[in-house]
């Protein structure tokens, strides 16, 4: 933590959507901003309508809505009118194939135009959209599609062959694979999406979904058990708009770039929905991170608002400030970061090198939208996640002796970060796991699982997770999923997986493995086995989830009931106090 405060010049307060934080926060319930004030009283809301069709027959219908940059630097532009027609075509394709309102459409693809079109087209048709990260291996893909009872998968030929083809027929609900780059003769159940789109209806109407109807199903990891399907309703779009307006300071005149992959919640809420709702122009880059490419995009596309992530920012820092000098970034006027807490040095680096400080903000898959943020008009305390959005009540809570949570009012006291339940984009359940959902709430508070503290000015500071979840490059990884994959290897007896601090990615996945007694353990065989296990895990889990480091132990610390004590592995790895070890039955060797 640092005492540094980055103040904002007075003109910032005049031109920002949020001029005076405290006044805006207090008056929000009676005077919501005009950008969203017509929404709350309507019984039907459709996210795709708000993002796209709403702009038809207005003066922005021919405005550039989405500009796609290919890996080879081709440019493909879509106006709001184009997006409306394309998403209608996609909705009609689903209808023609026999899919109905409420059916589940999954995507697994890189950042391609048809991914964006099918996400919005799915919502338009009243179906539920689930994005999957294309860097997942077959196992995380399959388990999510099983739990989510996927009916349709949109993917590419390459990803289909590599990760899906061998098992998809075993999924009882899955009826169709729509291939973005498919053509000609295909296997049964597979369709060439471009051909279907050509035959689609560009004027297919947007379904009038009820505001509490499920729209999005996002997956997040749990510490134990399988991934959880987080359900969001169409009404969530209210909060997408409010947060884009306040926390990203998005104006219709902005050219906006969200670097998050649509395989994750940020890439959906802020990489597809919110910017279009605001009538802005959004830039999508197909390619992966590359320092000079990114500076070039910021310059050439005249990006004004940029929403990115700590790992990318730290890679830019690593490349040095000199490289930035060759680029004109004068169009840029607001930059923000999300995924994991942004270290103070990175906020200050932004100010020094880019001429703007990064505005960190906080939210989760479950919250559906940004909940706590640093604002364009407000002073930044580098390292802090900022102040709650207007309309959001946040608090630091602790459990009392009766097990009920109570708010802690003392400044800088560590407790669990909680939100008063009932905001528009609050998740409405974990699919088929109502008990797990109930456990997230207590006394009217949603419990985030993040430990934090609040200072005297009301700024929130992240401290750590209350559970064993690992945050790597902004992605939440469940240790159980990694352990389960390694346990499938015939030489492995037990596994404990933890996250260890990493300068670039926040945390790095590390696995501790105990081998079966009959496995030969010479230096040479262990070295070979280490590599084999690494490849074994990568094949199943993909690079985003697989452990970066694997070490061997004779025995792992366990409780009486045989549960591996990840907490203890982590304390020892980091040289921290071991804490309460009264439940330890069998120790590490």
């Amino acid at each position: 933590m640092t005492e540094t405060i980055i103040d904002k010049p007075p003109h910032r307060q005049v031109t920002s959507n949020l001029t005076d934080y405290h006044e805006c926060y207090t008056s929000f319930s009676t005077e919501p901003p005009s950008a969203v004030s017509d929404l709350p009283n309507r019984p039907t809301i459709n996210i795709a309508y708000e993002a796209v069709d709403r702009h038809l027959n207005t003066d922005i219908e021919d405005k550039l809505a989405l500009r796609w940059l290919s890996k080879q630097d081709e440019i493909v532009d879509f106006s709001y009118r184009d997006l409306a027609e394309q998403t209608s075509r996609f909705a009609s394709v689903l209808h023609r194939l026999g899919f109905e309102r409420g059916d589940r459409v999954f995507s697994l693809a890189g950042r391609l135009p048809l991914l964006y079109i099918s996400a919005l087209g799915t919502l338009k048709s009243g179906c539920v959209f689930t994005p999957l990260f294309s860097a997942f291996g077959p196992e995380p893909i399959r388990s999510r599609m099983e739990i989510g009872e996927a009916n349709v998968l949109i993917t590419t030929m390459g990803l289909y062959r590599k990760k899906v083809a061998s098992w998809w027929h075993e999924l009882p609900y899955l009826k169709a694979i729509l291939l973005i780059d498919g053509s000609g003769e295909l296997e049964e159940g597979c369709y060439a999406l471009p051909e279907l789109m050509d035959q689609g209806d560009p004027y297919y109407p947007c379904v009038n979904t009820q505001k509490d109807e499920m729209a999005l199903l996002h997956f997040t990891s749990g510490t134990t058990g399988k991934p959880k399907g987080v359900m969001h309703i169409h009404q969530a779009v209210e909060e997408h708009k409010i947060s884009a307006y306040y926390a990203l300071d998005l104006h219709p005149s902005d050219i906006y770039w969200c670097t998050a992959d649509p395989g994750w919640v940020t890439g959906t809420s802020y990489g597809i929905i919110a910017p279009l709702c605001m009538g802005a122009t959004m830039i999508v880059d197909e390619a992966e991170f590359e320092v000079e490419r990114w500076y070039r995009i910021l310059q050439d596309q005249h990006i004004t608002v940029w929403y990115t992530a700590p790992t990318a920012i730290r890679m830019l820092m690593r490349a040095g400030s000199e490289i930035r000098q060759g680029y004109d970034l004068s169009a840029l006027h607001f930059i923000a970061s999300v995924g994991e807490p942004l270290n103070p040095e990175a906020v200050i680096w932004g100010e020094k090198t880019l001429g703007l400080p990064f505005h960190d903000n906080w939210w989760q898959t479950e919250t559906g939208a940004i909940m706590i943020a640093n604002y364009a008009s407000q002073a930044i305390k580098p390292g802090s996640m900022g102040l709650p959005l207007p309309g959001i009540t946040a608090g630091i809570v602790k459990r009392n002796e009766q097990g009920d949570v109570e708010e802690v009012h003392k400044p800088m006291e560590v407790g669990e970060l909680a939100l008063k339940q009932g905001w528009p984009s609050m998740f409405r359940g974990y699919l088929h796991q109502s008990e797990r959902y109930e456990r997230c709430f207590n006394n009217g508070w949603y419990l985030s699982g993040d430990q934090a503290m609040r200072d005297e000015q009301g700024y929130y500071w992240f401290v750590g997770r209350v559970d064993d979840l690992i945050k790597s490059s902004g992605h939440l990884i469940g240790p159980f999923e990694v352990e389960s994959a390694l346990m499938e290897h015939s030489s492995v007896a037990e596994v404990g997986v933890i996250g260890i601090p990493d300068e670039l990615t926040g945390e790095m996945v590390k696995a501790y493995v105990a081998l079966k007694p009959d496995v030969e353990q010479t230096e040479q065989t262990l070295q070979a086995l280490q590599k084999e296990l690494k490849g074994f895990a990568r094949k199943r889990l993909g690079a985003a989830v697989a452990p970066k480091e694997i070490v061997f132990r004779q025995n792992l610390p366990k409780t009486r009931s045989g549960k591996i004590m990840r907490r203890l592995l982590k304390a020892r790895e980091l040289g921290l106090p071991e804490g309460d070890i009264s439940t330890l039955e069998s120790d590490e060797q």
Binding site: A312, M315, G320, I323, T505, K531, A543
Partner: protein, 81 residues
Amino acid sequence: MKNHEIKALLLKAIQEIAPEIELEDIDLEEDLRDECDLDSMDFLNYLIEIKKLTGVKITERDYPNVNTFKKMLAHLEQNIA
């Protein structure tokens, strides 16, 4: 160093990070990060391996010239001492 020797070192560097990859899995003209499923951390570790095995340091400015197997091979051929 001969072309096939450099090629072998390059594959070795990849396999340090992604042991499951064989040469025939890679489209030599496609982005190596996609071909070998390397995330940003894997890619940096792969460049560290390249440095270790060949002595050639790859800077951020070189990235566009080394993003496929074929381009990296050409870059190493030019720069190996």
